[in-house]
């Protein structure tokens, strides 16, 4: 499992959640730009747990440590490596 796999999966989920086309979604896009709401975050957490076996903490989203798709992918990768 590498960064690219996680990025691809993230783009797929986000396109599904928000009706973006795949080529519209870029790694440096912020969650605000993606218009993710509180229910979307929960779905992201659930899907990532099922797909990658990681538990993303809500706090990292809340305090802004994770604010873009890139940052989220790195965070997931870190969680995978720590597991």
């Amino acid at each position: 499992m590498n960064y690219e796999n996680i990025f691809e999966a993230s783009v797929e989920i986000i396109c599904d959640l928000k009706d973006f086309d795949e080529d519209e979604v870029k790694g440096d896009m912020t969650f605000e730009q993606l218009d993710l709401d509180s229910m979307d975050f929960i779905e992201l957490q659930v899907v990532f747990r099922k797909k990658f076996g990681v538990n993303m903490e809500s706090e990292v989203f809340a305090d802004g440590k994770v604010s873009t798709i890139d940052e989220m992918c790195h965070y997931v990768l870190e969680l995978r490596q720590a597991a």
């Binding site: 218009d35 709401d37 509180s38 538990n55 809500s58 706090e59």
Partner: protein, 517 residues
């Protein structure tokens, strides 16, 4: 310890482990859970009111021999595997409090008949299929949606932490088909019969929204929580719950300082919170939980030099839920003897189809006074609670509630305001008397709370008693993301969602994060 000695001590303790601005139910639940999980923790709750609980409190009128509850205090999630039931057990509240489980979910009153709904989901489904046979397919679909999608929403905190695994296909379906429609649209898709739609939408009053306001997916969870997961009331009313929590906090070494307004949340030069300022002195902590409305907090409690541009922008999208106009009544003998036989009733207007149209017309006309009174007071569903039936110790008390808007209410302490209160009392009381004629001449005390009353007592935006509206637009709900002041967290209906159960669920989630933070 006397008051002065306590103040001397509290200013000496420079470091409270956490301070809560406001002692509403979310603060009380969070502090009680923190105290139970972390023995020795030093918690300070400060509230401007003279009793703890915010909306979860009562006020007395000794001359009328009555105690009135400020909110309905119908607790959802009070059956096996209910979230609130579980937290009650953890805190020992199930033993400390006496609970009343009502027979009915509520009784629906129409012009020509009444229909009591049993207090279990299968019973309601069966009864409605019998009453509305042409709609039975839609009724089955509705209750199936409640059981699947409503259930997923209900266990959202467990879903986040991984102890509840939803079916992804269900989540996706709900996201695409149910999340972006209102209750009005969701019910219109399933049903033609207006009476049935009104009955199914009535529990929206528990969360501060009419069918045109609330998101359908969210609403399925409200029905799941209040009906499928059981409901109960507390003997001694909501104040008993609040006081019991307050006692637990104080027994564990915490302090609840009432009658003390927080003037400012103090922040250091590095944008880290350091405490609060009150007329009775400053209290220090590097963690402050904000229980008050976020709009009020940003506007009034922080130094104006702090840049809240982003937060303010997000807060513009965080719309308050509807406020309430409440008529508190007492009768000269037991309300049951006079024909108010159910603990809770919903009274629907004869102009069923018109209620939503009239509300929208009122709004479009800048909440014109006459249109608004017609729409909100006369034609929207009115909720009636017979408190005497739930707890006779409070007196012969009946409360009437309609969801309302502050926008057509004049300022307090003016003649037009007093006259309007009088009109609200007359119109709403008459609606009840139309259905229960024996009440005529038997009401011996009446008092009205308006949306302004709610602002006065809680500082909640527009008098909302339910925090933010959970509509199809959730963009404002993450207003606290990347909050510029470190150590500030929000605990209230504005982040948890309306209801005691949501308050306890959110408080539990916050309390679990204590170490991690």
């Amino acid at each position: 310890m006397d008051r002065q000695a306590w103040f001397a001590m509290s200013t000496e303790i420079k470091n409270w482990d956490a301070i809560f601005v406001g002692a509403g139910i979310t603060s009380l639940a969070c502090a009680a859970l923190l105290a139970k999980k972390n023995p020795g923790i030093k918690l300070l709750l400060v509230d401007k009111h003279i009793v703890a609980g915010g909306y979860a409190s009562v006020f007395s009128r000794p001359k009328a021999n009555a105690t009135f509850d400020c909110s309905l205090h119908k607790l959802s999630g009070m059956q096996h595997q209910g979230n609130l039931q579980r937290i009650f057990e953890y805190l020992g509240l199930d033993n400390a409090l006496e609970l009343v489980y009502p027979e009915d979910y509520f009784c629906s009153f129409f012009d020509d008949h009444s229909l009591p709904l049993p207090n279990d989901a299968n019973g309601v489904e069966k009864l409605l299929c019998k009453q509305f046979p042409a709609e039975s397919k839609g009724i089955k679909t509705f209750f199936e949606q409640v059981r699947t999608f409503g259930r997923n929403g209900y266990y959202q905190f467990q879903m986040q932490e991984g102890s509840f695994e939803p079916d992804i296909a269900q989540l996706r379906y709900a996201h695409k088909n149910l999340k972006n429609i209102t209750v009005e649209q969701g019910l219109d898709e399933l049903f033609d019969d207006q009476k049935l739609k009104e009955i199914l939408a009535a529990p929206g009053i528990y969360v501060g929204g009419y069918p045109e306001d609330l998101g359908y997916l969210y609403y399925l969870h409200v029905v799941y929580a209040t009906l499928n997961k059981g409901n109960a009331y507390v003997k001694g009313a909501s104040q008993n719950l609040s006081n019991t929590l307050a006692k637990q906090i104080e027994d564990a070494g915490g302090k609840i300082q009432l009658g003390t307004k927080v003037e400012e949340i103090l922040v250091d030069d590095n944008l880290c919170v350091k405490g609060i300022q009150t007329k009775r002195g400053n209290f220090y902590s590097d963690r402050v939980y904000v229980n008050v409305s976020p709009h009020y907090a940003i506007e009034h409690l922080f130094d104006e030099k702090i840049d809240f541009t982003d937060i303010k922008e997000k807060l513009r999208a965080l719309k308050p839920a509807r406020s309430t106009t409440t008529v508190y009544l007492t009768t000269d003998c037991s309300p049951q003897e006079l024909g108010v036989i159910h603990s809770e009733s919903m009274i629907f207007s004869s102009q069923l189809c018109n209620a939503a149209v009239q509300r929208k017309a009122a709004e479009l006309n800048d909440f014109d006074e006459q249109l608004s009174e017609e729409a909100f007071w006369k034609h929207s569903p009115m909720e009636v609670t017979n408190y005497y039936k739930l707890d006779s110790a409070g007196g012969y008390v009946i409360c009437l509630n309609v969801l309302d808007s502050i926008k057509h209410w004049p300022m307090r302490r003016t003649q037009p305001y007093r006259e309007k209160k009088q009109r609200a009392a007359e119109i709403m009381t008459q609606r009840l008397i139309n259905h229960v004629p024996q009440l005529e001449g038997r009401i011996n005390y009446s008092e009205v709370s308006s949306p302004h009353t709610y602002v006065k007592f809680t500082n909640n935006t527009d008098g909302s008693g339910y925090g933010a509206m959970v509509s199809t637009d959730l963009s404002g709900h993450l207003f606290h993301r990347k909050f510029p002041v470190k150590g500030v967290e929000f605990v209230s209906a504005w982040v948890a969602g309306p209801s005691y159960e949501a308050a306890f669920g959110y408080a539990e989630m916050k309390a679990k994060k204590w170490r991690a933070a």
